[in-house]
């Protein structure tokens, strides 16, 4: 398949994207000639040291930033257009729940906003079923401050899925959680994604997280930010916690670690 075909097929396509930030009188080269095609319903993780431009890539994909060079295409649309049509489910690093809304109403927030844009969203029944599925039913009418951090982040993820968007963008959603909760959240996310099958671009700096979740892991190097390697994770799906005991898992883990080290030294 030619490069052009792949791009036309892709859910998210970065084509030689460069991005600079101006800070005071200094130019920060955040991304340099990044190319990456994320296929439909693929789960791709971006991993790399902090400051290497992972969040910037996510914002470019989401149409929250414009590239300085190159182009980003999302399902044959510009990211700005896709954003106008509410094609993104965004999961930020912190749950970012509205403290005055109950769990139920936080989950429907993204559908409530910008209503004039026709949006399929999930029906209320489907939302409730999903919330029940991930154990949030007892908390439907709770306020965010009554929930633990792990539960809040679950609500945040449910909120992204509830929009029914074809593309999910997640920026280190689990990094503020404790290690135990965090390990469980991986499988919860996989469980939800397994049912909905949207395309996911997932930022992390946890190697196990990237390997357990992804179809492919894009390893980024810094200064300037660029993709140094893309690693296939050919572990069978659906994946459960047992996958972390398999030899294949450890082999891929090692590959990603090596790629990160290489990016670091080069």
């Amino acid at each position: 398949m030619s490069r052009a075909d792949a791009a036309a097929d892709a859910a998210i396509s970065f084509e030689a994207v460069s991005k600079w930030f101006r800070r005071k009188d200094r130019l920060v080269h955040a991304l340099s000639r990044v190319s990456l095609d994320v296929r439909q319903s693929e789960f791709v993780s971006l991993i790399g040291p902090s400051g290497c431009g992972k969040s910037t890539m996510l914002r470019l994909a989401g149409g929250l930033l414009e590239p300085d060079r190159g182009s980003v295409v999302v399902n044959n649309q510009s990211p700005a257009e896709a954003r106008r049509q509410k094609r993104y489910g965004f999961v930020p690093q912190h749950p970012a729940l509205l403290p005055w809304r109950t769990v139920r109403r936080n989950v429907s927030l993204l559908s409530d906003v910008n209503r004039q844009q026709e949006n399929p969203g999930m029906s209320t029944d489907d939302q409730l079923a999903m919330l029940d599925d991930i154990g949030l039913t007892p908390f439907l009418d709770s306020l965010p401050r009554e929930l633990s951090g792990g539960l809040q982040q679950r609500v945040s993820i449910a909120r992204a899925f509830a929009l029914g968007a074809p593309v999910l963008l997640m920026d280190e959603p689990f990094s503020a959680l404790d290690e135990i909760t965090r390990a469980d959240m991986r499988y919860l996310l996989l469980h939800l994604w397994g049912k909905i099958g949207s395309t996911v671009l997932f930022v992390t700096h946890s190697i196990p997280e990237a390997v357990v979740l992804s179809d492919r892991v894009a390893v980024l190097g810094s200064r300037p930010g660029r993709i140094t390697q893309v690693i296939d994770v050919s572990l069978p799906r659906p994946r459960h916690a047992g996958v972390e005991d398999s030899d294949d898992y450890h082999r891929v883990l090692g590959e990603v670690r090596a790629a990160l080290r290489q990016g670091w030294s080069s």
């Binding site: 509410k86 005055w100 910008n114 401050r145 074809p166 049912k195």
Partner: protein, 299 residues
């Protein structure tokens, strides 16, 4: 588009409960454990409810005793009981004048509130406007507003407007400052989240900025109730034939000690009553906010 059906149909493998400890009663090895008796401290709770009244009573009793012991003349310091009796015996006079002052303060308060919200909204959306407006606000803040009252008199004569305007000027600076902080206090991730579904500025304003600024506005409101009353009274000092400020001024010139202190007491009562009303509203509206946790909730 993404397939959205099948939620109810599929069996639920269900992730392990990451909260672990939320359901401690179900461990088969130990059986269901009884929770400990909730500690009951009725005395402590009652004491907390009574405390404000006890404080007030102590204040007035102390005052009363002090006057009696030192045998002070009423002109120096009256007995608080005399003042209260005087007020109770003249309900018409104080309610009539009190209502006038309340109305002036009320309109001053709300005009200040909406003017401040309008200006702060503008400032929050444009750095240029903020920079241009700041010096004017500082100027207004550092000018003793009271000296403007004679000017308002020239403009409006014997109408309620000089008093409303004074009340408004007293109250508006805390409102602007707090509204601006509140409107700006939104968290950048939530902002980005709303932008990711292309929320308009207007929606971000109503759904995010306004609710976020409510705690700040309520905090300002508590201060501004008092300030608006002060403003109204100061306005009445300069020109008025009615209102508690006028009652106090007349009393002072004619050495009517009871009426002078009566006006002060009624004003204080009005201030407290409105602050308490505001707090009651705040508790309902800001149920979601951490300031409403009973552990660290003062008045």
């Amino acid at each position: 588009m993404v397939e959205l059906t099948g939620w109810t149909a599929s069996p639920v493998p269900g992730p392990p409960d990451p909260e672990g400890g939320t359901d401690p009663g179900l461990d088969p090895e130990f059986g269901v454990e009884e929770p400990p008796e909730a500690p009951r401290r009725p005395i402590r709770r009652a004491a907390l409810l009574v405390a404000p009244f006890a404080g007030l009573a102590a204040f007035f009793v102390g005052w009363e005793i002090y006057v009696l012991v030192r045998n002070l003349r009423p002109l120096t310091l009256p007995l608080p009981s005399d003042v209260i009796i005087h007020v109770v015996e003249n309900p018409g006079f104080y309610s009539r004048n009190g209502l006038v002052t309340i109305q002036e303060a009320f309109w001053g308060f709300w005009i200040a509130f909406f003017a401040a919200l309008f200006v702060a909204t503008w400032m929050a959306h444009s750095q240029f406007v903020e920079r241009a407006t700041m010096p004017v606000i500082v100027l207004m803040q550092s000018t003793p507003v009271a000296v403007l009252v004679p000017i308002f008199l020239l403009w409006f004569g014997f109408s309620p407007w000089p008093k409303i305007l004074t009340a408004m000027l007293f109250a508006w600076v805390p409102f602007v400052a707090n509204a601006l902080i509140g409107l700006r206090s939104i968290d950048s991730e939530t902002h980005e989240l709303l932008r990711s579904v292309n929320a308009s500025r207007w929606e971000i304003y109503w759904r995010l900025r306004i609710p976020h600024s409510l705690p700040y506005l309520f905090a300002a409101g508590r201060i501004c109730v008092g300030l608006a009353l002060v403003g109204a009274v100061v306005g009445e000092f300069f020109n008025s034939r009615e209102g508690l400020g006028n009652a106090a001024r007349v009393a002072q010139s004619r050495l009517l000690v009871d009426q002078l202190w009566g006006s002060v007491f009624v004003l204080a009562f009005i201030g407290v009553a409105f602050v308490l009303l505001l707090i009651a509203v705040e508790r309902r509206v800001l149920r979601w906010h951490s300031s409403q946790d009973s552990d660290h909730r003062g008045l």
